[in-house]
């Protein structure tokens, strides 16, 4: 269970990018956060909300336009190497060398963390055992299944026994068994090793299952922050409706249309369903989560709107049953 020692402190973190037309856009608009030691903290938000930009700044991959973040008291902008020693990073994509074996990948990245010699070899053995790939350690990564690659991907992040672990949407595009294993691993790392975990996801149920606290981020701003109970109170549990829309991509305009047309709808999020393609790639299909204010008759109106607009018919080939 988390204590109140601050592991990550984010202050007024802002990142601006230059558009093609020369104008500036704020991908992250000055957020403040505190993540406590031993806590599993989820950053929840739809695609393009600013999750990855935020985590990239906190991990030192991107320089903030403004603001700073400290990891264990070390500023990521002023003392980046000291801060980075404390953190492990598990990226969303499989960031491994496909031509190298699992063991070679682990050895290489171990060296990047300053590990060497017998200590490194021993730690690699431990990690291989932890991710259950000891028997495949000499096989090249490009011969592995998607789930096995994910496990090595996680193993690399754990090599140097970090105090803080960033996990950037680690369950995207994988089968339910592997997903279950990853979620259990996250809990195990926190419970057994006291590791602090910063977990980004666009799946509400993952955030709910794992997190001590959740921050919902959208358009570069934190729109809600708290424990699961606190968030439920803010949003209103009875007024949330999720639509799974099959295999077709969901047009962005539809989300805007719902929010703009129907009275009482405060937020519409596009989230990913647990759909796995054969080659373990991400599905473009998704799920809409509609948040409405308590006491309003918004949700039936949403269903009615979608049916009237023929959206379900177009997207799923069938009308929605109430």
């Amino acid at each position: 269970m988390p204590n109140q020692t601050v592991m990550v402190k984010v202050e007024k973190l802002r990142k601006s990018f230059k558009r093609a037309d020369g104008t500036m856009v704020d991908a992250v608009k000055g957020i403040d956060l505190e993540i406590y030691q031993g806590e599993i903290f989820s950053l929840l938000g739809p695609n393009g909300a600013g999750k990855t930009t935020t985590i990239s700044m906190i991990s030192g991959l991107l320089s903030p336009t403004e603001g700073d973040a400290t990891i264990g008291g070390h500023s990521i902008t002023k003392a980046p190497l000291a801060a980075k020693r404390l953190m492990g990073f598990i990226p969303q994509e499989i960031a491994l060398y496909p031509e190298l074996s699992a063991r070679q990948n682990l050895l290489f990245f171990g060296k990047m963390y300053g590990m060497a010699g017998q200590a490194l070899q021993k730690r690699v053995d431990e990690v291989l055992a932890f991710i259950d790939l000891t028997d495949r350690q000499k096989d090249r990564i490009d011969t592995f299944s998607g789930g096995m690659k994910r496990r090595v991907n996680i193993g690399v992040g754990l090599l140097h026994k970090p105090q803080l672990l960033y996990m950037d949407e680690p369950t995207v595009g994988i089968d339910p068994q592997s997903r279950r294993r990853i979620l259990d691993t996250v809990k195990q790392l926190r419970n057994e090793q006291g590791m602090t975990v910063l977990y980004t996801t666009h799946l509400m149920e993952e955030a709910q299952e794992l997190s001590d606290r959740v921050a919902i981020i959208d358009h570069g701003e934190i729109i809600a922050l708290g424990t699961q109970n606190e968030l439920t109170q803010q949003v209103g549990e009875d007024d949330r409706l999720e639509f799974t829309l099959g295999e077709q991509p969901i047009p962005e305009a539809l989300l805007v249309q719902i929010q703009g047309t129907i009275e009482g709808v405060s937020k519409v999020l596009l989230t990913q369903p647990e759909q796995i393609t054969e080659n373990s790639e991400r599905s473009t299909a998704g799920r809409i989560t509609v948040f409405a204010k308590r006491g309003r008759r918004a949700l039936p109106d949403v269903i009615s709107f979608l049916n009237r607009a023929g959206v379900f018919l177009a997207l799923t080939g069938r009308a929605l049953r109430d």
Binding site: E93, I94, L96
Partner: protein, 500 residues
Amino acid sequence: MGKIWAIAWKELYRTLTDRNLLLIMFATPLALSTIIGLAFGGLGSDTPTIAAIPVAVVNLDQGLDIGSLISDTLPISSTQAMTTALSPNNFSFNVGSVIENILLSQPITAGGIISSAATNLDLSALNCDLLPADDNSTANFQGSLADLLTTTALTDPVAARLGVEQGDYAVAVIIPADFTQRFLPTFTDNGNRPPDDTASAIEVYGNSGRALSAGIVRSIVEGIVNQFLRLTVTLEASIDTLFDMVDLTRINTTTLPTTLATLTTVNTDTFAVLGCLFQPAINPIRLEQQPLDQLQAGNRFALVLVTVGSAQAVFFALFTGVFGILSLYEERKQGTLQRMLVSPTAGITILLGKLVGNLVVVLVQLLILLLALTTVASLILGTSTFIWGSNLPALLGVLLALALCVSGIGVLIVGLARTPEQVQVFGPMVNMALGVLGGSFGFSVPAALARLSLIYWGVDAFQKLAANESGVGLNLLVLLAQGLIFFLVGAWLFRRRLNL
């Protein structure tokens, strides 16, 4: 350093375990070199096989009349005295004629005799110490050019060039009309002949399909001209000494005999080189005999393999240099770069590791190709043959300098490009241009252009080393200087581009 080497080792391992890359890096240049070697070098034997290169020589050189030289050089009063005393009317000196005779393998003769009974000064009797003592008067060329060249003397340069284009001749050597005049030294201290800094070059017009023959003839002509140049420099020094000792403006018919007599008794060694100028026994090709002999004695297949193989090796290494660095973009795409960047590893360390890795990969590629080429030569010739000469430290130095230069160009191209896609377009274009200039495609371009390509400097160095010549210092210098500049500028640009 540990992290840099870890990254470099990873680069080397990834490269050497990629079958497609191996095919491009090693198999292709090796196969090309072997095929071209067999096509142009035959299966070879120990007997000389490069022979009877058809050469047309056109000597337009009008030479230099000694009377004109004196009148151009000395004040009017002195000229009168000298011409009266020396009577050099029949004497003319023609460097072009000497070169023509060498190429024709004819005895070299002077155009006249200079002597003066009045002064007892016989310049032709002066000892020319550039010649061996036992071969001071009759200068027949004693080389193997007659075996190597089949030379035809022509008078029309247009016809000679046409003959080359039609394949009658491999090369045409055209000596311009003012060659001797521009070639001989100028005097400014006491004489009034103005310095002439206009170059007058012999034209070596080669058939593009017979690059090797053209290269051989060009190197022969260069060798001869270089000997004359050396002579000219020495002569200039002697003439300057003469002017220092004698105030030529005061020479007249009364004082000339005394002055000349004094000069001949005071320091004849100073004027020995004059004997070389007027002596018909100039034998400038003698020093060039050694490489020519080695060229002849060596195996044709091995020779072609050295030239073609090294050009192909460097050309293909250029692609490794560019695409090796470009792989950092690939790493960014697959997330491994980000993974390194979130580790406690400075961006500059990652960049250095990548650059060192690329350098090592290029070096290994060149090294393996050179070893493979020598293995191919040994297999085909049926005997153990190391085709790269015996100077291994110099060979290693050239390899290192080339690897630095090749890798440097790769870094520069990737650093200059805005996107990986631009690299994929411009990288091969630059490499092809360097290949064309450097002779990787079997034909030569003018030397001034060829020198712009590192391939030229590399191949030239390998050829010299294969012939056991020692003069690769300039090659090393050029390659190292280019490499360092490309490397540093490219690395700086690339670091900014990737925000490392």
